[in-house]
Symmetry: C2
Subunit: 231 residues, 2 copies
Protein backbone atom coordinates (compact mmCIF):
# COMPACT_ATOMS: atom_id res chain seq x y z
CA UNK A 1 0.00 0.00 0.00
CA UNK A 2 1.48 3.31 -1.06
CA UNK A 3 0.26 6.09 1.24
CA UNK A 4 0.55 9.79 0.42
CA UNK A 5 -0.07 12.27 3.21
CA UNK A 6 -1.60 15.60 2.17
CA UNK A 7 -1.20 18.35 4.77
CA UNK A 8 -3.39 21.40 4.18
CA UNK A 9 -1.81 24.39 5.91
CA UNK A 10 -3.06 27.26 3.79
CA UNK A 11 -5.44 28.70 6.40
CA UNK A 12 -5.04 32.29 7.50
CA UNK A 13 -5.40 31.49 11.20
CA UNK A 14 -7.97 34.22 11.61
CA UNK A 15 -9.06 32.88 15.00
CA UNK A 16 -5.59 33.52 16.38
CA UNK A 17 -4.66 36.94 17.74
CA UNK A 18 -1.89 38.51 15.66
CA UNK A 19 -1.42 38.22 11.93
CA UNK A 20 0.98 35.26 11.77
CA UNK A 21 -0.71 32.22 10.17
CA UNK A 22 -1.02 29.74 13.01
CA UNK A 23 1.04 27.06 11.28
CA UNK A 24 4.08 29.37 11.52
CA UNK A 25 3.66 29.98 15.24
CA UNK A 26 6.49 28.54 17.26
CA UNK A 27 5.80 26.42 20.29
CA UNK A 28 8.92 25.82 22.35
CA UNK A 29 10.96 27.18 19.46
CA UNK A 30 9.58 25.01 16.67
CA UNK A 31 6.77 26.05 14.28
CA UNK A 32 3.58 24.03 14.71
CA UNK A 33 3.65 22.97 11.08
CA UNK A 34 7.23 21.68 11.36
CA UNK A 35 6.16 19.69 14.42
CA UNK A 36 3.22 18.20 12.51
CA UNK A 37 5.42 17.20 9.55
CA UNK A 38 7.98 15.63 11.90
CA UNK A 39 5.21 13.64 13.60
CA UNK A 40 4.05 12.30 10.23
CA UNK A 41 7.62 11.46 9.18
CA UNK A 42 8.26 9.68 12.48
CA UNK A 43 5.07 7.64 12.34
CA UNK A 44 6.10 5.23 9.61
CA UNK A 45 3.66 3.92 7.01
CA UNK A 46 3.62 7.17 5.01
CA UNK A 47 5.47 6.97 1.68
CA UNK A 48 5.06 10.51 0.34
CA UNK A 49 4.29 13.86 1.90
CA UNK A 50 2.59 16.74 0.07
CA UNK A 51 2.34 20.09 1.83
CA UNK A 52 -0.20 22.71 0.75
CA UNK A 53 0.39 26.31 1.78
CA UNK A 54 -0.90 29.75 0.78
CA UNK A 55 0.53 30.78 -2.60
CA UNK A 56 2.34 33.73 -0.96
CA UNK A 57 3.89 31.53 1.76
CA UNK A 58 5.67 28.94 -0.38
CA UNK A 59 9.14 30.49 -0.09
CA UNK A 60 8.72 31.34 3.54
CA UNK A 61 7.61 27.79 4.23
CA UNK A 62 10.80 26.42 2.69
CA UNK A 63 12.90 28.80 4.78
CA UNK A 64 11.10 28.62 8.13
CA UNK A 65 9.25 25.31 8.22
CA UNK A 66 11.29 22.83 6.20
CA UNK A 67 14.98 23.73 5.87
CA UNK A 68 15.85 24.52 9.53
CA UNK A 69 14.53 21.12 10.59
CA UNK A 70 15.94 19.08 7.73
CA UNK A 71 12.43 18.31 6.52
CA UNK A 72 11.92 17.24 2.91
CA UNK A 73 8.53 16.96 1.22
CA UNK A 74 7.56 15.26 -2.03
CA UNK A 75 5.40 18.20 -3.04
CA UNK A 76 5.05 21.78 -1.87
CA UNK A 77 2.00 23.16 -3.64
CA UNK A 78 0.06 26.43 -3.44
CA UNK A 79 -3.41 26.13 -1.93
CA UNK A 80 -6.75 27.20 -3.34
CA UNK A 81 -9.57 29.48 -2.26
CA UNK A 82 -10.84 27.19 0.50
CA UNK A 83 -9.77 24.07 2.36
CA UNK A 84 -11.43 21.75 -0.14
CA UNK A 85 -9.55 23.38 -3.03
CA UNK A 86 -6.28 23.13 -1.09
CA UNK A 87 -6.77 19.45 -0.34
CA UNK A 88 -7.62 18.82 -3.99
CA UNK A 89 -4.42 20.61 -5.06
CA UNK A 90 -2.53 18.27 -2.72
CA UNK A 91 -4.31 15.19 -4.06
CA UNK A 92 -3.36 16.14 -7.62
CA UNK A 93 0.28 16.39 -6.56
CA UNK A 94 0.32 12.87 -5.07
CA UNK A 95 2.71 10.48 -6.87
CA UNK A 96 1.22 8.11 -9.44
CA UNK A 97 0.65 4.74 -7.82
CA UNK A 98 -0.66 6.16 -4.55
CA UNK A 99 -3.19 3.75 -3.07
CA UNK A 100 -4.33 5.78 -0.09
CA UNK A 101 -4.50 9.52 0.58
CA UNK A 102 -4.12 10.55 4.21
CA UNK A 103 -5.26 14.10 4.95
CA UNK A 104 -3.92 15.63 8.16
CA UNK A 105 -4.33 19.18 9.49
CA UNK A 106 -1.10 21.17 9.63
CA UNK A 107 -2.16 22.40 13.08
CA UNK A 108 -2.42 18.95 14.72
CA UNK A 109 1.14 18.25 15.86
CA UNK A 110 0.22 15.66 18.51
CA UNK A 111 -0.94 12.89 16.19
CA UNK A 112 0.57 9.55 17.22
CA UNK A 113 1.99 6.67 15.14
CA UNK A 114 -0.74 4.44 16.60
CA UNK A 115 -3.57 6.66 15.39
CA UNK A 116 -2.01 6.92 11.93
CA UNK A 117 -1.57 3.16 11.73
CA UNK A 118 -5.17 2.46 12.76
CA UNK A 119 -6.57 5.03 10.33
CA UNK A 120 -4.58 3.60 7.42
CA UNK A 121 -5.65 0.05 8.29
CA UNK A 122 -9.33 1.03 8.48
CA UNK A 123 -9.22 2.87 5.14
CA UNK A 124 -7.46 -0.05 3.48
CA UNK A 125 -10.29 -2.30 4.65
CA UNK A 126 -13.36 -0.08 4.26
CA UNK A 127 -12.34 2.61 1.76
CA UNK A 128 -12.53 5.57 4.11
CA UNK A 129 -11.57 6.29 7.72
CA UNK A 130 -11.96 9.31 9.97
CA UNK A 131 -10.24 9.70 13.32
CA UNK A 132 -12.81 11.00 15.79
CA UNK A 133 -13.45 11.54 19.49
CA UNK A 134 -16.61 10.71 21.44
CA UNK A 135 -18.54 13.93 22.04
CA UNK A 136 -18.65 14.91 25.73
CA UNK A 137 -21.03 17.87 25.50
CA UNK A 138 -24.78 17.45 25.34
CA UNK A 139 -25.69 18.38 21.77
CA UNK A 140 -28.96 20.05 20.80
CA UNK A 141 -30.27 20.28 17.26
CA UNK A 142 -32.12 23.47 16.31
CA UNK A 143 -32.78 25.51 13.20
CA UNK A 144 -32.56 29.29 13.02
CA UNK A 145 -35.60 29.77 15.30
CA UNK A 146 -33.41 28.25 18.10
CA UNK A 147 -36.21 25.94 19.21
CA UNK A 148 -34.72 22.62 20.34
CA UNK A 149 -35.81 19.96 17.87
CA UNK A 150 -33.80 17.03 19.13
CA UNK A 151 -31.18 16.00 21.66
CA UNK A 152 -29.38 13.23 19.75
CA UNK A 153 -28.08 10.34 21.89
CA UNK A 154 -24.63 11.41 22.99
CA UNK A 155 -23.28 7.87 22.61
CA UNK A 156 -23.87 8.10 18.86
CA UNK A 157 -21.98 11.37 18.31
CA UNK A 158 -18.32 11.80 17.41
CA UNK A 159 -16.22 14.89 16.76
CA UNK A 160 -14.11 14.46 13.61
CA UNK A 161 -10.36 15.04 13.81
CA UNK A 162 -7.69 14.15 11.32
CA UNK A 163 -6.07 12.04 9.91
CA UNK A 164 -8.79 11.13 7.46
CA UNK A 165 -7.71 8.42 5.01
CA UNK A 166 -9.35 7.36 1.74
CA UNK A 167 -8.63 5.12 -1.23
CA UNK A 168 -6.98 7.48 -3.68
CA UNK A 169 -9.22 6.76 -6.68
CA UNK A 170 -12.33 7.16 -4.57
CA UNK A 171 -11.14 10.40 -3.01
CA UNK A 172 -10.21 11.87 -6.38
CA UNK A 173 -13.63 10.98 -7.76
CA UNK A 174 -15.31 12.49 -4.70
CA UNK A 175 -13.46 15.77 -5.24
CA UNK A 176 -14.19 15.87 -8.97
CA UNK A 177 -17.88 15.21 -8.39
CA UNK A 178 -18.09 17.79 -5.58
CA UNK A 179 -16.39 20.41 -7.76
CA UNK A 180 -18.69 19.64 -10.69
CA UNK A 181 -21.77 19.83 -8.48
CA UNK A 182 -20.76 22.93 -6.53
CA UNK A 183 -20.61 21.09 -3.19
CA UNK A 184 -18.18 22.76 -0.75
CA UNK A 185 -17.20 21.43 2.66
CA UNK A 186 -14.43 21.84 5.20
CA UNK A 187 -14.93 18.16 6.01
CA UNK A 188 -12.97 15.85 3.70
CA UNK A 189 -15.08 12.84 4.56
CA UNK A 190 -18.35 14.58 3.66
CA UNK A 191 -17.32 14.51 -0.01
CA UNK A 192 -16.98 10.74 0.15
CA UNK A 193 -20.05 10.11 2.30
CA UNK A 194 -22.34 11.99 -0.09
CA UNK A 195 -21.51 9.47 -2.81
CA UNK A 196 -22.71 6.70 -0.50
CA UNK A 197 -19.30 5.15 0.09
CA UNK A 198 -18.67 3.71 3.56
CA UNK A 199 -16.47 5.55 6.07
CA UNK A 200 -15.42 4.13 9.41
CA UNK A 201 -14.61 6.10 12.55
CA UNK A 202 -11.33 5.41 14.32
CA UNK A 203 -11.22 6.50 17.98
CA UNK A 204 -8.60 9.24 18.40
CA UNK A 205 -7.17 10.98 21.41
CA UNK A 206 -7.93 14.25 23.15
CA UNK A 207 -4.28 15.26 22.82
CA UNK A 208 -4.54 15.22 19.03
CA UNK A 209 -6.01 18.70 19.25
CA UNK A 210 -6.11 21.28 16.48
CA UNK A 211 -4.34 24.44 17.56
CA UNK A 212 -6.73 27.26 16.69
CA UNK A 213 -6.85 29.65 19.65
CA UNK A 214 -4.32 31.24 22.01
CA UNK A 215 -5.48 28.94 24.80
CA UNK A 216 -4.72 25.95 22.53
CA UNK A 217 -1.15 27.25 22.15
CA UNK A 218 -0.83 27.33 25.90
CA UNK A 219 -2.14 23.79 26.18
CA UNK A 220 0.30 22.70 23.45
CA UNK A 221 3.18 24.17 25.44
CA UNK A 222 2.07 22.22 28.50
CA UNK A 223 1.73 18.97 26.56
CA UNK A 224 5.20 19.44 25.07
CA UNK A 225 6.76 20.36 28.41
CA UNK A 226 5.26 17.22 29.91
CA UNK A 227 6.45 15.07 27.00
CA UNK A 228 9.97 16.48 27.07
CA UNK A 229 10.17 16.13 30.85
CA UNK A 230 9.22 12.48 30.46
CA UNK A 231 12.18 11.66 28.21
CA UNK B 1 -41.13 36.64 38.48
CA UNK B 2 -39.56 34.86 41.42
CA UNK B 3 -36.42 33.01 40.28
CA UNK B 4 -34.69 30.31 42.32
CA UNK B 5 -31.23 29.22 41.25
CA UNK B 6 -30.35 25.59 41.93
CA UNK B 7 -26.63 24.86 41.83
CA UNK B 8 -25.72 21.16 41.66
CA UNK B 9 -22.20 20.70 43.01
CA UNK B 10 -22.36 17.16 44.31
CA UNK B 11 -20.10 15.66 41.64
CA UNK B 12 -16.97 13.82 42.68
CA UNK B 13 -14.79 15.51 40.05
CA UNK B 14 -13.46 12.15 38.95
CA UNK B 15 -11.96 13.61 35.77
CA UNK B 16 -9.69 15.83 37.84
CA UNK B 17 -6.36 14.50 39.11
CA UNK B 18 -6.31 14.34 42.91
CA UNK B 19 -9.17 13.48 45.19
CA UNK B 20 -10.49 16.97 45.98
CA UNK B 21 -13.96 17.47 44.46
CA UNK B 22 -13.43 20.03 41.73
CA UNK B 23 -15.84 22.56 43.19
CA UNK B 24 -13.52 22.90 46.21
CA UNK B 25 -10.45 23.57 44.07
CA UNK B 26 -9.10 27.07 44.54
CA UNK B 27 -8.30 29.23 41.56
CA UNK B 28 -6.33 32.31 42.53
CA UNK B 29 -7.17 31.57 46.16
CA UNK B 30 -10.95 31.22 45.84
CA UNK B 31 -12.80 27.88 45.45
CA UNK B 32 -14.50 27.49 42.07
CA UNK B 33 -17.86 26.93 43.72
CA UNK B 34 -17.56 30.15 45.74
CA UNK B 35 -16.75 31.99 42.53
CA UNK B 36 -19.81 30.50 40.82
CA UNK B 37 -22.10 31.49 43.71
CA UNK B 38 -20.66 35.01 43.75
CA UNK B 39 -21.29 35.32 40.01
CA UNK B 40 -24.93 34.30 40.49
CA UNK B 41 -25.36 36.73 43.42
CA UNK B 42 -23.80 39.55 41.44
CA UNK B 43 -25.93 38.95 38.36
CA UNK B 44 -29.20 40.26 39.72
CA UNK B 45 -32.57 38.74 38.84
CA UNK B 46 -32.11 35.72 41.12
CA UNK B 47 -34.27 35.79 44.25
CA UNK B 48 -33.21 32.59 46.01
CA UNK B 49 -30.18 30.33 45.83
CA UNK B 50 -30.20 26.61 46.64
CA UNK B 51 -26.90 24.76 46.74
CA UNK B 52 -26.73 20.98 46.41
CA UNK B 53 -23.59 19.21 47.63
CA UNK B 54 -22.57 15.67 48.51
CA UNK B 55 -24.12 14.57 51.80
CA UNK B 56 -20.66 14.25 53.36
CA UNK B 57 -19.57 17.72 52.22
CA UNK B 58 -22.33 19.84 53.76
CA UNK B 59 -20.31 21.02 56.76
CA UNK B 60 -17.15 21.49 54.79
CA UNK B 61 -19.10 23.52 52.25
CA UNK B 62 -20.31 25.90 54.98
CA UNK B 63 -16.76 26.30 56.28
CA UNK B 64 -14.81 26.53 53.02
CA UNK B 65 -17.21 27.72 50.36
CA UNK B 66 -19.75 29.98 52.05
CA UNK B 67 -18.53 31.49 55.35
CA UNK B 68 -15.10 32.82 54.27
CA UNK B 69 -16.69 34.77 51.42
CA UNK B 70 -19.75 36.04 53.29
CA UNK B 71 -21.99 33.94 51.03
CA UNK B 72 -25.48 33.07 52.24
CA UNK B 73 -27.76 30.55 50.54
CA UNK B 74 -31.46 29.94 50.95
CA UNK B 75 -30.96 26.20 51.00
CA UNK B 76 -27.97 23.92 51.43
CA UNK B 77 -29.20 20.42 50.64
CA UNK B 78 -27.53 17.01 50.30
CA UNK B 79 -27.42 15.63 46.76
CA UNK B 80 -28.66 12.30 45.45
CA UNK B 81 -27.15 9.37 43.60
CA UNK B 82 -26.78 11.19 40.27
CA UNK B 83 -27.03 14.71 38.88
CA UNK B 84 -30.74 14.37 38.14
CA UNK B 85 -31.44 13.34 41.75
CA UNK B 86 -29.35 16.24 43.03
CA UNK B 87 -31.15 18.78 40.87
CA UNK B 88 -34.48 17.36 42.00
CA UNK B 89 -33.41 17.72 45.63
CA UNK B 90 -32.61 21.36 44.90
CA UNK B 91 -35.94 21.92 43.16
CA UNK B 92 -37.81 20.53 46.17
CA UNK B 93 -35.97 23.01 48.41
CA UNK B 94 -37.00 26.03 46.32
CA UNK B 95 -39.22 28.50 48.21
CA UNK B 96 -42.98 28.30 47.62
CA UNK B 97 -43.96 30.89 45.04
CA UNK B 98 -40.95 30.28 42.79
CA UNK B 99 -41.93 30.94 39.18
CA UNK B 100 -38.72 29.91 37.45
CA UNK B 101 -35.97 27.44 38.36
CA UNK B 102 -32.53 28.29 37.02
CA UNK B 103 -30.08 25.38 37.11
CA UNK B 104 -26.41 26.31 36.92
CA UNK B 105 -23.34 24.06 37.20
CA UNK B 106 -21.21 24.73 40.27
CA UNK B 107 -18.14 24.47 38.05
CA UNK B 108 -19.06 27.31 35.67
CA UNK B 109 -17.78 30.41 37.44
CA UNK B 110 -17.59 32.62 34.33
CA UNK B 111 -21.32 32.99 33.71
CA UNK B 112 -22.21 36.63 33.02
CA UNK B 113 -25.19 38.75 34.14
CA UNK B 114 -26.13 39.16 30.47
CA UNK B 115 -26.38 35.41 29.84
CA UNK B 116 -28.44 34.93 33.01
CA UNK B 117 -30.77 37.76 32.05
CA UNK B 118 -31.31 36.39 28.53
CA UNK B 119 -31.91 32.84 29.78
CA UNK B 120 -34.48 34.01 32.34
CA UNK B 121 -36.26 36.13 29.72
CA UNK B 122 -36.41 33.26 27.24
CA UNK B 123 -37.77 30.82 29.84
CA UNK B 124 -40.37 33.34 30.98
CA UNK B 125 -41.57 33.59 27.39
CA UNK B 126 -41.26 30.02 26.12
CA UNK B 127 -41.26 27.85 29.27
CA UNK B 128 -37.71 26.52 28.94
CA UNK B 129 -34.33 27.93 27.94
CA UNK B 130 -30.89 26.39 27.55
CA UNK B 131 -27.71 28.40 27.13
CA UNK B 132 -25.69 26.81 24.34
CA UNK B 133 -22.76 27.41 22.02
CA UNK B 134 -22.60 26.75 18.28
CA UNK B 135 -20.64 23.54 17.70
CA UNK B 136 -17.32 24.16 15.95
CA UNK B 137 -16.27 20.54 15.37
CA UNK B 138 -17.58 18.47 12.49
CA UNK B 139 -19.91 15.93 14.13
CA UNK B 140 -20.42 12.40 12.80
CA UNK B 141 -23.26 10.13 13.86
CA UNK B 142 -22.46 6.43 14.15
CA UNK B 143 -23.69 3.44 16.14
CA UNK B 144 -21.44 0.86 17.78
CA UNK B 145 -20.19 -0.48 14.41
CA UNK B 146 -18.51 2.96 13.95
CA UNK B 147 -19.78 3.28 10.40
CA UNK B 148 -20.62 6.92 9.68
CA UNK B 149 -24.37 7.20 9.25
CA UNK B 150 -24.73 10.94 8.99
CA UNK B 151 -22.82 14.20 9.19
CA UNK B 152 -25.49 16.53 10.56
CA UNK B 153 -25.32 20.13 9.29
CA UNK B 154 -22.99 21.90 11.67
CA UNK B 155 -25.12 25.06 11.59
CA UNK B 156 -27.94 23.15 13.30
CA UNK B 157 -25.86 21.84 16.23
CA UNK B 158 -25.36 23.46 19.63
CA UNK B 159 -23.44 22.35 22.70
CA UNK B 160 -25.53 22.81 25.85
CA UNK B 161 -24.10 24.78 28.77
CA UNK B 162 -25.86 26.16 31.81
CA UNK B 163 -27.81 28.12 32.99
CA UNK B 164 -30.88 26.19 31.96
CA UNK B 165 -34.11 27.83 33.11
CA UNK B 166 -37.61 26.37 33.28
CA UNK B 167 -41.04 27.30 34.61
CA UNK B 168 -41.03 25.78 38.08
CA UNK B 169 -44.27 23.81 37.78
CA UNK B 170 -43.22 22.39 34.44
CA UNK B 171 -39.75 21.42 35.69
CA UNK B 172 -41.18 19.74 38.80
CA UNK B 173 -43.60 17.76 36.64
CA UNK B 174 -40.77 16.78 34.27
CA UNK B 175 -38.73 15.43 37.19
CA UNK B 176 -41.64 13.54 38.74
CA UNK B 177 -42.51 11.95 35.40
CA UNK B 178 -38.88 11.04 34.67
CA UNK B 179 -38.50 9.47 38.11
CA UNK B 180 -41.74 7.53 37.71
CA UNK B 181 -40.73 6.27 34.27
CA UNK B 182 -37.10 5.47 35.11
CA UNK B 183 -35.69 8.07 32.70
CA UNK B 184 -32.24 9.28 33.80
CA UNK B 185 -30.25 12.05 32.16
CA UNK B 186 -27.40 14.41 33.00
CA UNK B 187 -29.17 16.96 30.80
CA UNK B 188 -31.84 18.94 32.68
CA UNK B 189 -33.54 20.03 29.50
CA UNK B 190 -33.97 16.48 28.20
CA UNK B 191 -36.52 15.84 30.96
CA UNK B 192 -38.63 18.74 29.72
CA UNK B 193 -38.16 18.06 26.01
CA UNK B 194 -39.35 14.47 26.31
CA UNK B 195 -42.74 15.74 27.49
CA UNK B 196 -43.01 17.78 24.28
CA UNK B 197 -42.66 21.18 25.94
CA UNK B 198 -40.78 23.83 23.96
CA UNK B 199 -37.24 24.81 24.91
CA UNK B 200 -35.34 27.67 23.33
CA UNK B 201 -31.58 27.94 22.93
CA UNK B 202 -29.86 31.10 24.17
CA UNK B 203 -26.41 31.74 22.63
CA UNK B 204 -23.78 31.61 25.38
CA UNK B 205 -20.10 32.38 25.45
CA UNK B 206 -16.99 30.26 25.14
CA UNK B 207 -15.70 31.68 28.43
CA UNK B 208 -18.65 30.18 30.33
CA UNK B 209 -16.71 26.92 30.40
CA UNK B 210 -17.25 24.06 32.82
CA UNK B 211 -14.07 23.34 34.74
CA UNK B 212 -13.59 19.59 34.50
CA UNK B 213 -9.94 18.92 33.66
CA UNK B 214 -6.57 20.23 34.86
CA UNK B 215 -6.15 22.15 31.60
CA UNK B 216 -9.50 23.87 32.28
CA UNK B 217 -8.11 25.02 35.65
CA UNK B 218 -5.17 26.54 33.86
CA UNK B 219 -7.45 28.30 31.40
CA UNK B 220 -9.56 29.56 34.32
CA UNK B 221 -6.46 31.03 35.94
CA UNK B 222 -5.64 32.84 32.71
CA UNK B 223 -9.15 34.19 32.29
CA UNK B 224 -9.14 35.45 35.88
CA UNK B 225 -5.68 36.99 35.57
CA UNK B 226 -6.84 38.83 32.46
CA UNK B 227 -10.07 39.98 34.13
CA UNK B 228 -8.29 41.18 37.26
CA UNK B 229 -5.59 42.92 35.22
CA UNK B 230 -8.34 44.75 33.34
CA UNK B 231 -9.78 46.38 36.46
Amino acid sequence: MHVTAVVPAAGSGSRMAGSLPKQFLRVRGVPLLSRTLMALRAAGGIDALVLVVSPDQVDRCRQEILRPFGLAVDGLVPGGADRQASVFAGVQAAPAGTDLILVHDGARPFVTPEIIRLAIAAAAEVGGAVVALPVTDTIKRAESDLRVQETPRRESLWAAQTPQVFRAALFREAHVRANAEGFRSTDDSALVERLGFPVRLVPGSRENLKITTPSDILLAELLLARGEAGR
